[in-house]
Every structure is written in structure tokens, then in C-alpha cells.
Subunit: 746 residues, 2 copies
């Protein structure tokens, strides 16, 4: 049984539920009205109406690409600034600074030849080599620290001023939030909140224009700082902000929360599309991971939005490479059957690393960040983490390069022309050194990711997860390479390898790629979208089957260790109200039998036969607004028989229109009773609210809420009103029966 | 208003609806029972139960791959048999026959060097060249005719004997079908029927073991005959048959129609996975095009099933190439910005061709096949079509090769080593000839596709659509190549092309690929799944953006010409009951106001206060079974107030258990009334049937049926029983308001 005390009433106060089915019906009625317009005008009006959605997602695609390009350019410039500056112009990053030398785009190995680029030690003319190195190290740490601190302060500044700007996305604006807790909306990946919003809640200000700017700027700064975090999650958030802001231009989407969520799903696709140059992967990520309802029209829109974003980004060409594929590889060999075992091992490792990353992040946040002084001093925490990260990274040649450079290096095959920072040295010592350093990189990236993820700056988990996976994958690849070179006659692989002389029977880069996919699968538990994102990231399809197999195995292993992926864990941790459509609540450990235990029976109702004066109704509304269910409404009964339901917003509207604000005027909810037509509220009453029998099982209630996106359902017993189940209450109940720790909520 | 006459009662008689939500609740109850078992035994039982689904899809993947490999091998052998035979052994196809010469797998251009392969004219030693050619032509046509006729006869044979074998998949076995119309279940692509089944209907025998064998064998024969048809649709059907047959092994899936549909969705993914070696594309095709409900667990299962199928197929290696990518290309150049215009043109052309293909197939079927003698003589029609196809194909070197060989040739880039049957001749004459012949091929393939699709042999639409698109794409590619070679200084492309001397500024193969994708999009209207299938078919990702753009444009153009894709058109044409979750029925042209008009009010009800004797109940059941709604049930009322619902199957079951089959025994539906416990039927009554107010709008009713998969919903007015809306009736109503031609139904 649910406790009815005061404790539960404040939960989820910041969230307003939306009513999908109500919004859906509203939209259908609007469209039917449009269709009824005859002739050429009707055709024009209908066409314009149909076109709006496409125009909107087109705009979203372009704007998202611009933001992404801006962040990319700024982050690259900032990243390089840690090492030095361009003597020609401080505005140039290393690539553009040295552009006339390396004209064919990004070429990492020609850095030394560039004279225009000065390290900081060169700038102040330190000639002693060890002094120079030490100074460079300090400069590196200081610049990283400056960027990270700036980012953290920006996020904090935003949270201080978040309230006033959030009005535009609020649904019920006249009811003041009771608690003034400040939310750093620009921090973190944003995906858990986006998921919550898409599942049918309103979080005020989270997708506002201020959050958009702050998140974009602070993301560029924090990526520049070289911390162990990615930009995919924040890009999804940024794209959703853009979608939300731009949809204000179109009345159809601005006034319909249900329709607007279709646009937000498409925006999320555009976000991934530009983050990883993965348009298809973006659509699938939005479908598989982020969205709640995904009708086929949304699929098309998302597809279009993702194309527009990717094409725009290609035309803007922020990296000056002419390509949008991030980690382009061109493996020239297929895999051998004996390697399946290795891919299975990578799958298992990926599952272990992914799940333990999830678990450690959860434990660190729960028991260290939230219970020590760190909670009060988020900016200090960021400064601490960035100093640790920078110090650790500087010592190892692999971690010192930017995260994306390292991933690219690990994925690459060894061809004769390139020297990949010692990764392709086939001597025993070279391999041992690479193995050893990668091991250190693995540990440092893994641990810094644990302490980084969750600090109050924009931070995604994709890149760290890829990094960890690529490290252990490449390590296994090096071991395999060593084995095939040293023991070429070993029966398992001798038959397929004997024609190869240079130890290139296996490609270590492939192992890095498969490992990265497996690790990411362990963290997010996505399958299809992840596979496609891996293809699009690397531009290769030869390794479909190994990647798919490793992802599947990793998912199983990780599911065995911790049941949910990182986003669902963060939703729980953040205390967001989210009715997970994937989880089955079996309720085996409860005394739940029927909906009777679940519904609220002490709600105010309106009896059509009562003298419902304006004053009384206003009182009822006031009571409701202080009860924690301000987005609910009143069941309407006639001799105990349920005859309708009026939402509080509708009642407010009706009351505001009832002329003569005399508090004693009687209002009517039943046509037969009406005497004074001006106070006839029957038009505002939902005459056919969805009802459910008091004998119905929890499963049916859940199905109704999950699949129809209801805000409430009314419980009846043979036609008589019994009570109301609303979504927030249902969620609180589910938290109770699944035994989730209540202390960590909010 | 719906006419209540006898006419509508026989519609959809062959289809039984399933009740998703009922099946879902049943499953949850079963699982809760399992979870309540304590200790080690509980753990084992639960684990075994959870494992079943994975084991099942694993088996399905392997068996599907075996069937696919069998069909592939047989079809290749049969295809080659049209041209000649292997002197070493008649069992070998040309590739294997000549294997010791072309050891590196399939090499189309070395055919002439193979001595062991005899053409038919060589076999009977005709030495005169023109005579030999004539004889070869006749042999070609005769072999094709034999294969196709065999296939058509097999399909017909199956339809004659379909009934007796179909029992196992029937739900209600004791009610005899009223009409004995014979259904050629193995004919066509099968996807429309699979969609109908997945949307919640039962079509008896359609997924039976006999259909499986007949479809596989006749598919191999008809592909051998070289007709303009593909194997993707039939493979989906075959995979679903395998899924259905194998799920009989597991009680959990055999007895739960809802759960079984999850397995069928996964099977469909495996079908595409083996048809095109496109595991990810398969999952997405199942998700986007075939399935109705696709919960996240099904996504994982489908993913796994598709991997297992693809890996198995790679290990079986039916083509002896070591690869599973069908049309592997390796373009070495990125696209230029000026080419976007061409890709847009290809998109428009694809939309035009795709939509007109749909439209012509529809018109041909409606007005020629169904209204002339062809309807009565399907086998003769097949014979006629195959002779026309073979005769037309033989004359043109491009059409003479098998469909897949032609597509592969058109997709390929021109490298120096290969001579692609004149496609790479860069002289004006060479280009003109290729253009001319491809134009002829385009026309012949397009027209033969129109007359082929819909004949009574297994036939998919993917390959013909790809063919048509590849032809016009390559033609545009040749034109562009000619232009860039002849006018190298034309401003639009001179800057990007001037460094290229050999006319390889554009790659005609890319145009063929983009055209193929666009044409397929025009036919099926898929977006995401199609893009991924194109990647996996060609193994290249460089052209993501052109392909996506062309697909999007093509879909828009095609939607403008004819609103639905081929599968939805075929569902309509076949008269299958399908509640399309994509279409919005706006009902603007009807007088529909409330559910009151829609519900059946003349149904038999059971009043708990009546003397419901066994005899009376049996009578009611009998009446119901002859009413065309044999899968319905009875509302249970108590003084007009609705208190429950009993499904006819449940009532039958209860009656069969009520001991003492004395027809005068009273049965009880209300606990308080019970005197004789043996006839207490309350346990069989659904105490909480879903109800809806008589004031509810059509939109809400549709949402309930679409999203929850209901079989029926009960209309109430303030608690009092009014009537029942069941799914079949709703579908008939929707057909009426959308004005679909009733004469073509069944």
C-alpha cells in the first residue's frame, strides 16, 4: 500500500506530466478541421500544415550542424592551446596554422615540421630540455585547469539563473515551484533528462535557449581541457534544445506537447548524426535508446533531420579534411574463423569493463560525491579532477594525445607509410612497450572516467567507453600478433597464417575496434544502433559479424552484472520520473492485488448535482495545486456514477472565461441542469475519460500508461467512481515495489 | 452506419484475431508463478524459462541459413542449367565445375576457358554457329519453362492439400471453416500475409511445415527459371515458417500467440539477413516494415537471430566465395558536391519508377489478372510469363545474365583489370551501345516485372526494383561520364574534374547504386532499413549521404503518386484484415460521431441473474460460431451493468469441464449466486474487461486497438452495457469510411 503521508507529496514536483492521448486527439481534431476547408484554400492550408514539420526538422538539422561545427572548431583550437600556440595568429589551431605544410588535411605525424607552431616553452625561450618539458607540463595543466574551471563556472552561473528563463517551456505558468533548488541543467550528458522528457514529462528550462548556449560553450571548453569525457551526450542535449527552441516558431508544435516530442526525437537523431558523423546511427540511437514513442512518421522525420545535419556538417567541413567519418580505417583483410574465439573474449571483456564502469560510477556518485564535501563544491571538484587527469595524461604518450586521436591511432592498421607512435613496432621490445603503455592508459582512462562522469560540466560517456575498449582490444591484438609471429606453426592458425610473413595474420586495429564496440555495449546496452554507429565511425563494413557478436556477448555479460545501462541508472540516480517501457515490473514481492490499492480515493470530485459555485471551484483548484498533483484534475460524478473528468488547466480556463467573477455564481457540468448558459462548463469536460475496472491487474494498468501515454486513468466499480491513478503516483508505487532506495531520489 | 446484413458476416472468416493484452497478462502471470518458486529449483526453472527464447532464435537462425544455402545452391545450379551442363557431373554448377580453373572463387570473365562446361548445342554437337545459337535459345526457353511450370504446379499442389496440414497452427480447431476456397499460400512474396499475422491475426496453415517446404523448393525452381523476381520476400516467409514450426518445441511460445509473434519478428530479420547477407538491415526491415509491435526485447532477439543466421551462412559458404556480401564494390573516390543534383534526379526517377511499378502491378492485377481467364489458369499464366521473359531476356547480353549478375555488373566500378561486358568501353560508340542496351534492359525488366509479380509462384520485389534502378542509374552515370569527358571545361565540374584524364571524374557504378536504392525506396517506402541494406549489399559506406538523400526524395515523389508502398497495397488487394498503425483515418467524409455507431448492439449477452443452463450456453456458442465472429465472446451483465466478459474459447473450456453434461444444469457467473460449485464459471470470466464510454471518439478507439492490440472493447454508458466493438468489425468499418473497393476483397 502506498503511504498517503506528506512525504510523497513533494516528489516529482518539478515535473509536469503531459497527456499523449489528449494531445493526439487534439491534433486529430485540428487536422480534421483543416481537411474540412474546401477548394484551393483548403489545399494550400493543408499543404502548408503538412510541410511545417519538414521545414522545422530541416532548420533543426542545419542549426545543429552549425552548433556542432562551432563546438568542434573551438574544441580543437582549445585542445591545441594546451601544447602551444600559432605564431601567425592565435586564432589558428595547429592544423590550420601548419596548413600550407600538410595540405592534404590532418596528418598527425608531420607536426614537428611546422615552424609556425610554438610550444609554450619555446614562447618564453626556455632552452634547457628538461626545464622546457617541465614548463610545458605546467602550461598543459594550467591551460586545462583554466578551461575546465571556466566551464564549471558557466554551468554554475546557468543554474543560478535558470528559473526566470524557463517560463517559455513551462506548461502551467501560474503555479510557482515550491522548492528553489538550483539545477545545473547544462551539466552531464543530458540524455537521462531527454529520455524523461520524451517519456512524457516537462522539465522546465531544461531545453531552453539559455541552457543551449551555456551547454555548447562549456562543452567546447571542457573538451579542450582534455578530460576523459565525450561530446555525444551533450550534442544530443544541444540538438534537443535547438529542436525545442525552433519548434516555438510553429504553432502546431509549440502548443502540442505530444507533437513536440516527435520533433525532439528527430533532433536527438541529428545530435548523434553530427557528434559522430553517423546519420543512420543517430536515427537508430534515437529510436532504440532515447525515444519513448516512435511512430513511423517520426522515423522519416528523424531520417531527414539526420541527413540534413550530416550534409550540412560535411559542407561546413570543420576539420578541414573533406570527410565526416571520424576514425576512417581501411582494413584490407577479412577475418579468420579462429579469431571468433578472440572476438568472444573481447565481448566478455567489454561486458566486464562496461558494467563495472557503470557500477563504479554509480557507487562513486552515491557514496563519495553525494556524501562528502564534493557535493557542496562542484567547481572545486571539477578543478581537482582536471588537474588529476592532466597530470596523469601528460606522462604517457598515448594518453597525452586527445581522446579522439588515441582512438583513431588504436583503430588504425599498420601500413608501411605510417608510424603510429610505436603501435606498429613489431620487435618484441616494441610490442612489449606498447602493451605496457596501453595497459597504463587503460587503467588511467578507466579511473579518470569514473571520477569524471557526473561532475558538473557537460560530459558524455561514449568516447571514454570507446577509449577503454580500444585499449584492451589493441592489447589483445598485440598479444595475438606476438603469438602468430613467434609460434607460426601453432595448429589453430598455422593453416590460415602461413602465407603471411610479416606478422600481419591478425590486424590489431580490428581488435581495438571490436573491443571498443563491446565496451560501449557494456555501458549503454544498445545493440543495433551501436553496431551501425561503429560502421559509420570507421567507414568499414568488413567486420559486421565480429562486431555484432562481441556486442551481443558484451550485453549479456553486462546484464548479468548490473541490470540496466548507464542512462537508466542515471535516471534512477537523478530521481527522474520515468516509466520504463523495457522493464517488466513483476511485483512478486508485494501484496498488490488490484488497482484498488493503487488509486487515490481521497481526491476532490465534482458532483454535477452540487451547487458548484465559482468560489468553491477556485478553492478546489487551490487545494489541488498544493497537493503535489497540480497537473491533475477532477473526476465528475452524478450520483456516484462517473460521468466525466475535467483537467485542472481546463477548469482554470473555463473559470477565467466565466464572466461575472462573482464567487457565488453556480457552474454547470451537466446539460440538463443548466440555467445560466455563461457558466455551462460541459464543453470543457472530457465526456469519455478512460476507465478501468477496480478488478484490473497491475499489468493492464501499466500497459495502458506505457503504450497510450496516459496522464491518469479512473478506477470504477460497475460504473461507480472509485478513485484515480495518475502517472506520478504510479511511478512512486513502482519505486516502492521494486525496492529502490528512496534516499537518493532528487 | 455499418450495415448489419448477411454480406459482411463472411468477411475475414479465415482470420482469427488474437488478444495481445490477454496473452501478455497470461504470460506475466506465468512468470510471476515461476518467480515465486524458491531456492535453487526456482533459479533453475526461471533460468531455463529465460533461456528458451534465446535457444529458439538460435535454432531459427541456423535452420534459416541452411534453407537459404540450399535454395541458393539449387538456384545457381538450376540457373546455369539453362545454358548448359557440366560434363564431369551433372550435379555441379558452372562455378564448381570450373573450380580448378578459377580457384579464387567466382570469376565471371573466365567462363570461356572452362572446357568441362558444355552448352546444350555442344551437347548434341551442332557445329553451325547460327544453328547452335538458335538451339541454345530454345534450350534456354525450354529449361526455364520446365522450372517455372514445375514451380507453379508445386504451389498449386500445396493449395489443394493445404487444409489438412494446417490444423497445428489453428487456434480454434473445432469450428470448421465455412468456405473451402483454396489458397496458394506458397505464392507471392508472403510479406503482406506475414504483416497481417504479426498485426494480430491467425491465418491457418500459412506458416505451416508444408508451406515451408513447398515455398523453398518452388522458389529455387522459379529463380532458376530466370524470371524477373527476387527471393527476399519468400525468404522472409520461409524464415517465419521456420520460426513458427520451431516454436512448437517450446510450450511457452506454442501456447501464447502474442509471444509467438515476437519470435516471428526475429525470424523475419533472419530471413532478410540470409537473403541479402544483411543482418542489421534484416533487423531494421523487420522493425520498420514487417512487425507491428516491436518491444526492446524483440529487438535484441532479432539482432541475435540475424547474427546467427549470417554467421551460419558464412560458414556454409554456398557460393564458395568466402564472402557473404552480395554486390561487393570498392569505390576509391568520394563524391563531388556538383553531383548532388544528379543524386536528386536519381531520387526523383526512383520515385517515379517505383511508384509506377506499384501502380501498374496494382492495375494489372485488378483489371487483367483478376478479370480475365488468367484468374482460372494460374499455371498457364506462369508458363506464358516465363516464355515471354526468357525470350525477351535472351536477346540482350545484359538481361541474359542472371539478375544478380547484372546488378553486380552495373554497381561495379571500371578498373583496368576487368572488362564489364562493354560497360567500361569509354569510346563514344561503346558508351552509346551500353546506354542503348541498358535502356532496352530497363524497359524489358520493368514490364516483365509488372506481369510477373503476382503470378502464383514465390516472388519477391526487391531484386526487380534494384534492377530497374540500377539500369536507369547506370544510364545517367554513362551520360555524366560522357559529358565530363567530352566537355571537360564546363564550369560546374571543371574545377573538381580537371586532374582526372581518363573520364573517371564520376563513377557510373555509384549512380547505379544510388538509382537502385531510390527505385527500391519508391516501391517499398522504407527508409532506414533500406539504407542499411544497401550498405550491407555493397559493403561500402562512402556514399551514405547520396543514398540517403536519393531515398528520401524518392519516397516523397512516390508518396505523391500513390500513397502506400507495395506491401500495404498487396494487403489491401489481398483483402487481409490489417489495422495499419501508420495511416491516420481522419474520417472527415463520414457521419461518425461516437462509438455508439460502431459497436454491435445485437450480440448475445449473459445475465448473471438468468438461469444460464448448459444447454442454453451451448446454443449461444453455436449461434456465435455461425455469426462470423467465432473468436468473440459474451459480455456478462448484472441488471444491465457490465460486470465481465467471457471469451468463447473460455466458455467452451468451462463447459467441457462442467461435469454432468446435463443440459439443464445451471451455470453461475456471480459468486453470490452459486449453489452448485461444479458449475461456477466465475473463474473463467474476465472480471475487468476494457471498456470505453459511448461518447469516446473514433481516435481513442483506434489508439486502443492499435497500441494495445485488443481483440474487443466493450462500450458502456455510465456503467451500463451498450455493445461491443471487435477488431474485425472495426476494420470493416474503416474500409467503408476510407472508401476502399469492396469488390476486390478476397
Amino acid at each position: 500500500m502506498l503511504n498517503e503521508g506528506g512525504g510523497i507529496r513533494v516528489w516529482y514536483d518539478d515535473y509536469t506530466t503531459i497527456d499523449w492521448i489528449h494531445d493526439y486527439v487534439k491534433e486529430r481534431v485540428r487536422i480534421r478541421k483543416l481537411h474540412s476547408i474546401k477548394g484551393i484554400r483548403g489545399w494550400i492550408v493543408t499543404s502548408y500544415d503538412g510541410l511545417q514539420g519538414w521545414v522545422l526538422v530541416f532548420l533543426i538539422g542545419i542549426v545543429t550542424a552549425c552548433f556542432a561545427a562551432g563546438v568542434d572548431i573551438a574544441a580543437e583550437w582549445g585542445s591545441d592551446l594546451k601544447d602551444g600556440y600559432c605564431t601567425e595568429s592565435l586564432r589558428l589551431n595547429r592544423n590550420f596554422c601548419c596548413a600550407n605544410i600538410t595540405n592534404n588535411g590532418l596528418d598527425l605525424n608531420d607536426d614537428n615540421k611546422c615552424d609556425k607552431w610554438n610550444s609554450w616553452s619555446q614562447a618564453i625561450r626556455i632552452h634547457d630540455e628538461s626545464d622546457a618539458k617541465l614548463f610545458d607540463f605546467f602550461a598543459y595543466v594550467v591551460v586545462a585547469l583554466l578551461f575546465a574551471t571556466g566551464s564549471a563556472l558557466l554551468v554554475k552561473y546557468n543554474s543560478l539563473y535558470a528559473r526566470p528563463s524557463s517560463k517559455s517551456s513551462a506548461r502551467i505558468e501560474d503555479i510557482e515551484p515550491k522548492r528553489k533548488e538550483l539545477k545545473p541543467y547544462a551539466a552531464g550528458s543530458g540524455i537521462p533528462e531527454v529520455k524523461t522528457i520524451l517519456s512524457g514529462f516537462v522539465i522546465r528550462g531544461f531545453l531552453g535557449i539559455r541552457t543551449l548556449w551555456i551547454k555548447a560553450i562549456s562543452l567546447a571548453m571542457v573538451v579542450s581541457a582534455g578530460m576523459t569525457l565525450g561530446k555525444e551526450g551533450p550534442f544530443v542535449h544541444i540538438a534537443c534544445c535547438i529542436g525545442n527552441v525552433l519548434s516555438r516558431l510553429f504553432h502546431k508544435y509549440n502548443k502540442n506537447e505530444g507533437k513536440r516530442r516527435e520533433i525532439l526525437s528527430a533532433s536527438a537523431a541529428a545530435g548523434v548524426s553530427v557528434a559522430f558523423a553517423a546519420p543512420i546511427g543517430g536515427v537508430l540511437f534515437s529510436l532504440e535508446e532515447v525515444s519513448y514513442y516512435f511512430p513511423s512518421k517520426t522515423l522519416c522525420r528523424s531520417f531527414f533531420c539526420a541527413i540534413v545535419a550530416a550534409v550540412s556538417l560535411k559542407l561546413i567541413d570543420p576539420f578541414n579534411t573533406g570527410k565526416i567519418v571520424m576514425f576512417q580505417v581501411s582494413y584490407n583483410k577479412d577475418w579468420h574463423v579462429f579469431e571468433i574465439v578472440n572476438f568472444l573474449i573481447l565481448g566478455v571483456l567489454g561486458g566486464l569493463f562496461g558494467a563495472s564502469l557503470c557500477k563504479l560510477i554509480l557507487l562513486y556518485t552515491k557514496y563519495i560525491r553525494n556524501r562528502t564535501w564534493l557535493k557542496q563544491w562542484p567547481v572545486v571538484e571539477v578543478m581537482m579532477v582536471v588537474v588529476i587527469t592532466a597530470a596523469v595524461n601528460f606522462g604517457n604518450k598515448y594518453t597525452r594525445m586527445s581522446n579522439t586521436e588515441l582512438i583513431f591511432g588504436l583503430f588504425s592498421e599498420c601500413t608501411n607509410e605510417k608510424e603510429h607512435d610505436g603501435l606498429c613496432d613489431n620487435s618484441f621490445n616494441g610490442m612489449f612497450e606498447a602493451f605496457y603503455l596501453l595497459g597504463l592508459a587503460l587503467i588511467s582512462k578507466f579511473l579518470t572516467c569514473v571520477i569524471t562522469f557526473g561532475i558538473r560540466v557537460p560530459a558524455g560517456i561514449f568516447i571514454p567507453a570507446l577509449l577503454v575498449g580500444a585499449c584492451f582490444g589493441r592489447m589483445l591484438g598485440i598479444v595475438m600478433q606476438y603469438l602468430t609471429m613467434t609460434y607460426p606453426d601453432f595448429p589453430i592458425y598455422s593453416t590460415v597464417c602461413n602465407q603471411n610473413i610479416n606478422g600481419d595474420c591478425v590486424i590489431p586495429g580490428v581488435y581495438a575496434m571490436v573491443g571498443a564496440a563491446a565496451s560501449l555495449a557494456g555501458v549503454t546496452r544498445s545493440t543495433v544502433s551501436l553496431t551501425v554507429i561503429m560502421f559509420e565511425l570507421t567507414g568499414t563494413l568488413t567486420y559486421v559479424l565480429p562486431i555484432m557478436t562481441a556486442i551481443m556477448i558484451s550485453k549479456w555479460v553486462a546484464d548479468g552484472i548490473i541490470k540496466h545501462g548507464i542512462y537508466d541508472l542515471l535516471i534512477d540516480l537523478g530521481g527522474h520520473p520515468y516509466l520504463d517501457s523495457k522493464t517488466e515490473y513483476d511485483g512478486a514481492n508485494t501484496t498488490f492485488t488490484t488497482t484498488l490499492d493503487l488509486c487515490q480515493r481521497d481526491l476532490e470530485v465534482i458532483d454535477v448535482n452540487d451547487l458548484n459555485t465559482i468560489g468553491e471551484l477556485k478553492n478546489k483548484l487551490k487545494k489541488l495545486s498544493t497537493s503535489g498533483y497540480s497537473d491533475a484534475g477532477f473526476p465528475i460524478v452524478d450520483n456516484k456514477i462517473l460521468v466525466g473528468y475535467i483537467a485542472s488547466t481546463e477548469l482554470e480556463h473555463a473559470l477565467s472565461l466565466a464572466h461575472g467573477s462573482d464567487n457565488l455564481t453556480r457552474c454547470y457540468f451537466k446539460d440538463e441542469n443548466v440555467i445560466d448558459k455563461s457558466a455551462n462548463f460541459t464543453a470543457y469536460v472530457n465526456q469519455a475519460p478512460l476507465t478501468i475496472s477496480k478488478n484490473a491487474s497491475l499489468e493492464i494498468v501499466l500497459e495502458l500508461f506505457k503504450k497510450l501515454g496516459l496522464r491518469y486513468v479512473i478506477v470504477v466499480d460497475r460504473g461507480q467512481y472509485v478513485g484515480v491513478i495518475n502517472k506520478k503516483r504510479l511511478l512512486i508505487y513502482l519505486r516502492q515495489i521494486t525496492g529502490k532506495d528512496m534516499n537518493n531520489m532528487l
